[in-house]
Amino acid sequence: MTQPEFFSLDGISKRFGVVQALDNVSIAFRPGEVLALVGENGAGKSTMMRILEGVFGPDSGTVRHGATPIVFGEPRDSHRAGIRVIHQEPEIVPNLTVAENIFVGELPRLAGVLLDWRKLEEQTDRVLATFGMQHDMRPRQLCGTLGPAQRQMIEIMRAIRAGGRLIAFDEPTSSLTGDEARRLFSVIRRLREKGTSIIYISHRLNEIIDLADRIVVLRDGRLVDDSPAAGASEQTIARLMVGRNIADLFTRETWRSGEQLLDVAGLTTDRVSDVSLRVRRGEVLGIAGLMGAGRSELAKAIVGYDRRIAGTIAMNGVPVVPNSPHAAIVAGIGFAPEDRKHEALLLFRSILDNASLCVPDKTSSFGFFNRRKALEIVSPLAAKMSIKAPNLDEQVSKLSGGNQQKVVLARWLARQPMLLILDEPTRGIDIGAKAEIYRLIDELAASGIGIILISSEMPELIGLADRVLVMAGGRITAELARPDIDEATILKHAMPQSAPAPGDHIQ
């Protein structure tokens, strides 16, 4: 508290039932500094954000502005104090224009009643120019037509416009492409130059090292480290986060692929064009590409979810027909989609129900569900993957992201598939669970299962894949094989403009 205008947390504790979410945490947020907040899921990051937002108060401790304690009655109070949290899902009104969304609550008026459109547009143009966004959106554009990155920018502009002096970003890049993320970083750097205090929460440690001035690590509600970002490495941060040494995260014990398993030829749907690929037993085939490159759509085409316009899919030389998820499952293909909550899990059913969903034949007698049989199949899998839950009857909505992903994997392992397609299997899950999933991928491949790994995390692809296919615009633009898989080459082929026109050859 050497400078009076600091925001700071002073000995904040918060308890939910038996869980000590925050335990005597003190942090000072300096103006013109990007402070990265890292920790596993459940470490207390969201609780801290909620307290800063005034959603609920701490059990003990105070939030201060300078020497003055701030008492929050409701979120508005924190806004008034100059604190803003930018959420993953921006709170914008889709049916209003860009201008209205930025200036909501302070719209310029004509004669006290009418909206002063001209003035609003001028103001909006000025704000857009400040952020270098004048070519990305127009003041009169409806926000419903914007992409996730642009929506986030609107939320940021609104926060700054309304006088935000402490801005917290809660996993802002999880839905952004690499390019959009880079532009977000330049905006954040500009805010820093103007003296705004920034809190930056992310699971992507490389981003944090790149962007932050200071890194605060939370573990089990306690502050375990608060030090300058200079000199920090992913390894040191990860070790602080989980409290133990994580030996090289991306290791594979064996690199041994067997005979041909999957053969996709000329696969075309509304979203992917003329894709051909092969996967061998025990091979990990990585799929790289920017958001919207058609990677998830390729997976959905292979498992028969999307309508196939042309092409063939064969497993072990046998065509997979008809084009339906059921036929794909019967052929031995399992698929863990990217969007766990909406495409993979029945959130309000138990772990047991979710994990036994695809093995009705093995968990029933005479067409009726047999709980004993289901437990015999699911219990060992839950133990093997160390799913953390009181019991298998726990609703999956109550599990952490990592454990939810393990339930999805358990569902497919119960089927003993020959090919497993994993779409962003580690998105939004903490580093400990990530390491477990990497180990599992290695084990599965070693046991002869073919794996297609779709991922936006380069180290994941580079560390785990035998080969990487790069996609752009619904097509495959390059195939890289170990040891020639590196970030620069992947990026070069992932850029949409590098997608060859039909008839062109890839060199």
């Binding site: 498992v303 029945l346 309000f348 160390s386 799913i387 953390k388 569902r411």
Partner: protein, 333 residues
């Protein structure tokens, strides 16, 4: 290590009291329904205890809810699957007419039963195809077919009530076995069948998956179109069964009377019983408790001479109240 944890927590579960386990088994929702039912019984019992608790009146309640019970259970399955069937009342009317006409024409009760079930199934098939392949919203589709089925019933019967003169057939509606009306036995048997089907069978579990999240269901290899059509056929056949029971009880086939408002009561019972209109949630036991509440309410309102028009107000309010409560719970969990 983890299996040890699992085992340890199981021991904890066993150690808890029997009452806690009863609560878990029945579910908080069903217990609150039992409390609501008890309150209704206390109210009507204290107002007209002399009549209300007579065995004759209790049997009346049982008889009164048989047909509703069948429809509430099939509606529960439809709602769990993420659909809604508001054409059931009209389907019941249509099948009473077809059953009565088949018996009139052939003299055979069996022919009447077959006619009712088949026509009900066909009506359901029509709903299922319109909703699944025509991609029409379920409420709108069955609102349309409700009018169509009612129209067909009028056309077939020429707007007349058709009397049934088969004593064998009438036995279904008025006969007794072991002192209990046959109708009540039929309700008990269909309830057991519905419960086993929805809660225990693989198809039933897939229906929960379909209603809970159709995308997940499809990715899991469930043929969701076939399931959707099948569920509406089931609803139609159940309405056919209800139509047969109604015809047997009243001794006639009637295009309208008796079947009007049944869809409202069936949906109310299902929602009272814990169905989420978004799908994926609901139980047969809950639906039956909802049916019991409606049965007691109907009977009690008659006993305490509430005018018919006001009874309608009460029924409509009950449906809306049930949905409001359900939404409230959904938003809190």
């Amino acid at each position: 290590m983890n299996s040890l944890e699992l085992r340890a927590s199981k021991a904890q579960t066993d150690a808890r009291g029997a009452s806690t386990r009863l609560v878990e088994r029945l579910g908080v929702h069903n217990i609150s329904l039992l409390v609501a039912l008890a309150i209704l019984i206390i109210i009507f019992g204290s107002l007209r205890g002399d009549v209300f608790f007579s065995s004759r009146n209790l049997l009346n309640i049982g008889l009164g809810v048989t047909i509703l019970g069948v429809l509430a259970m099939s509606q529960t399955v439809v709602i769990v699957a993420g659909g809604l069937d508001i054409a059931v009342g009209a389907t019941v009317g249509l099948t009473t007419v077809s059953t009565a006409m088949a018996i009139q024409a052939t003299g055979s009760p069996a022919a009447g039963i077959v006619a009712g079930l088949v026509l009900g199934g066909l009506a359901g098939l029509v709903n299922g195809i319109i909703i699944t392949y025509g991609r029409v919203n379920a409420v709108i589709a069955t609102l349309g077919t409700m009018a169509i089925f009612r129209g067909i019933a009028f056309i077939m019967s020429d707007g007349q009530s058709i009397a049934i003169f088969s004593d064998t057939f009438r036995f279904i509606g008025i006969g007794r076995i072991l002192g209990l009306p046959l109708l009540v036995w039929i309700l008990v048997l269909t309830a057991i069948a519905f419960h086993l089907f929805l809660a225990r069978s693989i198809v039933g579990r897939n229906i929960y998956a379909l209603g809970g999240n159709p995308v997940v269901a499809r990715f899991s290899g469930i043929n969701i179109n076939r399931y959707r059509v099948g569920i509406y056929i089931m609803s139609g056949v159940a309405a056919g069964l209800a139509g047969i029971l109604l015809a047997a009880r009243t001794g006639s086939g009637q295009p309208v009377s008796g079947s009007q408002g049944l869809e409202l009561e069936a949906i109310t019972a299902a929602v009272l019983g814990g169905c989420a209109l978004q799908g994926g949630k609901g139980t047969i036991v809950g639906a039956l408790l909802g049916v019991a509440i409606i049965g007691v309410l109907n009977n009690g309102m008659i006993l305490t001479s509430v005018p018919t028009f006001y009874q309608l107000l009460a029924k409509g309010s009950l449906l809306i109240l049930a949905v409001v409560i359900a939404e409230y719970h959904l938003n809190r969990t």
